[in-house]
């Protein structure tokens, strides 16, 4: 007699999203920098901003910060990053 089990796991299949095309250049692009609010994150992102502006000629760098690293970004934070050509998320520690 075959044994039948009840599936105890999450059965929703996550579908992978196709990544957007890579940028061929950073020159003239709008770049978002997302600080997740971990101590030290701003040091890394300050340097990124400097490099993006001075070395790579980014047209604009927009700095956005999550209220806490422990939770998902609220919609208002995500909305501030709309219209960017690329976003860099900065971790820390």
């Amino acid at each position: 007699m075959p044994i039948t089990l009840v599936h105890p796991g999450n059965e929703k299949v996550a579908t992978a999203a196709a990544p957007p095309p890579r940028l061929s250049t950073l020159s003239g692009k709008k770049i978002g920098l997302l600080d997740i609010s971990k101590p030290g994150g701003s040091h890394f992102l300050d340097r990124m901003e400097q490099l993006l502006r001075q070395t790579y000629g980014a047209a604009d760098v927009v700095r956005v910060k999550k209220p806490t690293y422990t939770k998902n970004a609220p919609q208002a934070v995500i909305d501030q990053l709309r219209g960017m050509d690329a976003v860099i998320e900065g971790l820390a520690d």
């Binding site: 075959p2 044994i3 039948t4 089990l5 009840v6 599936h7 105890p8 796991g9 999450n10 059965e11 929703k12 996550a14 609010s37 101590p39 209220p67 806490t68 690293y69 422990t70 939770k71 998902n72 520690d93």
Partner: protein
């Protein structure tokens, strides 16, 4: 001016008397938190009338599960809902004796509920410190939900449209069935696919069905969505994990509020399950359920001593793994992990506790069974066998408290101090109340300033401008905690051995994980 005629269709409405009409949905977490408070309103002062926007079956299950004492009826065709037009649920309308709206309350708003109760000459009905939030918005009212193709409200529908729509559904499909080949070992299959690296009991249909029956709810009811991947914890899925953990069917009474608690946004399992820190949820059980279901609270309370503690703690972890996706070889990124992730469920030894039990501190009645969840570091032991005075016991505890998170961090962390019965007895004999214990620990836990040398960049040194300086035994120190309320006291364990423990927190407060306490329904 006469009463509005539509009120005559409210079942049980008595004209000429003040009334509180309460519109709610059975799957709304805010309704689930708010509605039980109304049990405390005296029916002589106001007639409370619950109006459900869901069907009879779900409404009756909701009333039974939350033990609602006032009349509750289904608002058929959402007729009254459309008359009153609440934008969200719960919405409560206080009607004067002539049936006209005097005031309304939206969502869970404890202060407003208590003000309303006071205006009706009633005591406080929603304690501010019982572990539920002071304020929480509700869900959109059903009559404003998008309709399905057949023109009916999308609520409760499992059609493709509602499943893919913007609203979270409350009924899911049944769990799929896995039929094993004759040559497959069900134990090996489960340990590889769904286990915690230890053998589990295969969740056969018969065993899971017995669990579902014991819950009194439909198998496909979605109790919560488990972070961080937000898998739907249906009653049936919870039951399957409970079977695997070795639970008995009556444990469903504890597991349903436990799943709600761990998915409470205040607990923030999203962060707890993904952090690189040690944090793991520990469960603290209080009240009569300890005796009813055999939760152990004596010697070896943190160990493998009783089926109730071990299996409920394990079931929670299996649910977090299998439905939440917080696998230790994947999303759970803890650098060293924590043995509590196998199972950690303690009960308070209320019989040896000289003070009120822990769940009373959290705002519940003593005879109410309850569970609390705290995201904790592993316990630090505190041995103190020769102290004659309670204050000397507490000074030993202070030294362990000073190392919570990291020894030079003096920010807003919290801790649970687990006092063994012998230490609690010494403290009570010296006249300490529980609040005095917390205050003493708060005032006497600090980190000596001499440990913060110049040019030292170690953890905690960069935050010194935010610290508060105090003197402890003549030595300048930075105060470890922000308030006495950061320190929670639990009395448990065996009556022999003067060993207590300190369990530090993860990040706390609204940006971290908050201690949550949920009631467990009576038998």
């Amino acid at each position: 001016m006469g009463e509005p005629t539509y009120l005559l269709s409210v079942p049980g409405y008595k004209p000429g008397k003040k009334a509180l009409l309460v519109f709610f949905e059975t799957d709304c977490p805010t309704c689930q938190l708010a509605l039980p408070y109304l049990n405390s309103l005296d029916s002589n002062a106001v007639q409370v009338l619950g109006l459900s926007q869901d069907d009879e079956t779900h409404t009756r299950a909701f009333v039974e599960q939350l033990n609602l004492k006032y009349p509750v009826n289904v608002d058929r065709g959402l007729k009254l809902t459309r008359e009153f037009d609440p934008q969200s649920v719960p919405t409560m309308y206080l009607l004067d004796e002539s049936g006209h709206v005097q005031s309304s309350l939206i969502g869970l708003d404890k202060a407003a509920m208590n003000t309303m109760a006071a205006a009706l000459g009633q005591k406080t009905i929603a304690p501010l410190d019982d572990g539920t939030p002071a304020w929480k918005p509700g869900c959109g009212s059903r009559h404003l939900e998008p309709a399905t193709q057949d023109g009916h409200s999308g609520a409760g529908d499992v059609s493709e449209e509602s499943a893919n729509g913007p609203l979270l559904r409350r009924i899911a499909e049944p769990a799929s069935r896995i039929t094993l080949r004759d040559d497959e070992d069900p134990f090996e299959y489960c340990i590889q696919k769904f286990g915690d690296a230890l053998p589990v009991i295969p969740p056969t249909e018969a065993k899971v069905s017995a669990m579902v029956t014991a819950s009194g709810l439909a198998a496909e009811n979605v109790i919560a969505r488990v972070p961080p991947v937000y898998g739907e914890a249906t009653v049936e899925k919870i039951a399957a994990n409970a079977v695997m953990a070795g639970c008995t069917p009556e444990m469903m009474r504890v597991l349903l509020p436990l799943v709600r608690a761990v998915c409470d946004e205040n607990f923030n399992a999203h962060g707890v399950q993904a952090t690189t820190h040690f944090a793991a949820p520990i469960i603290i059980i209080n009240g009569p359920v300890r005796q009813e279901l055999g939760f152990w609270c004596k010697q070896n309370v943190f160990s493998n001593v009783a089926r109730a503690n071990s299996t409920v703690g394990r079931a929670l972890q299996l649910i977090l793994l299998n439905l939440g996706g917080g696998r230790p070889d994947g999303i759970d990124m803890s650098a060293l992990g924590n043995s509590a992730k196998f199972s950690c469920c303690i009960a308070e030894n209320e019989e040896e506790n000289p003070w009120e039990p822990f769940h009373v501190d959290r705002g519940l009645q003593r005879d109410q069974s309850a569970l609390s969840l705290f995201a904790a570091e592993p316990p630090r032991g505190v041995s103190e066998h020769t102290a004659q005075k309670g204050a000397v016991v507490l000074k030993a505890v202070c030294q362990a408290l000073a190392t919570v998170w990291s020894y030079r961090i003096c920010m807003n962390h919290e801790a649970i101090v687990v006092l063994c019965p012998e230490h609690a007895k010494t403290l009570a004999r010296d006249g300490f109340t529980k609040q005095q214990v917390r205050q003493f620990l708060f005032e006497n836990t600090g980190v000596p300033k001499r440990l913060y040398a110049e040019k030292d960049t170690g953890e905690g040194t960069q935050l010194v401008p935010y610290y508060r300086e105090i003197m402890i035994q003549g030595e300048p120190c930075y105060q470890k905690f922000r308030s006495a309320e950061s320190i929670h006291i639990v009395v448990t364990g065996g009556t022999a051995g003067k060993f207590s423990a300190v369990l530090g927190s993860w990040a706390v407060g609204p940006t971290g994980s908050q201690l949550v306490t949920y009631p467990i329904s009576p038998k």
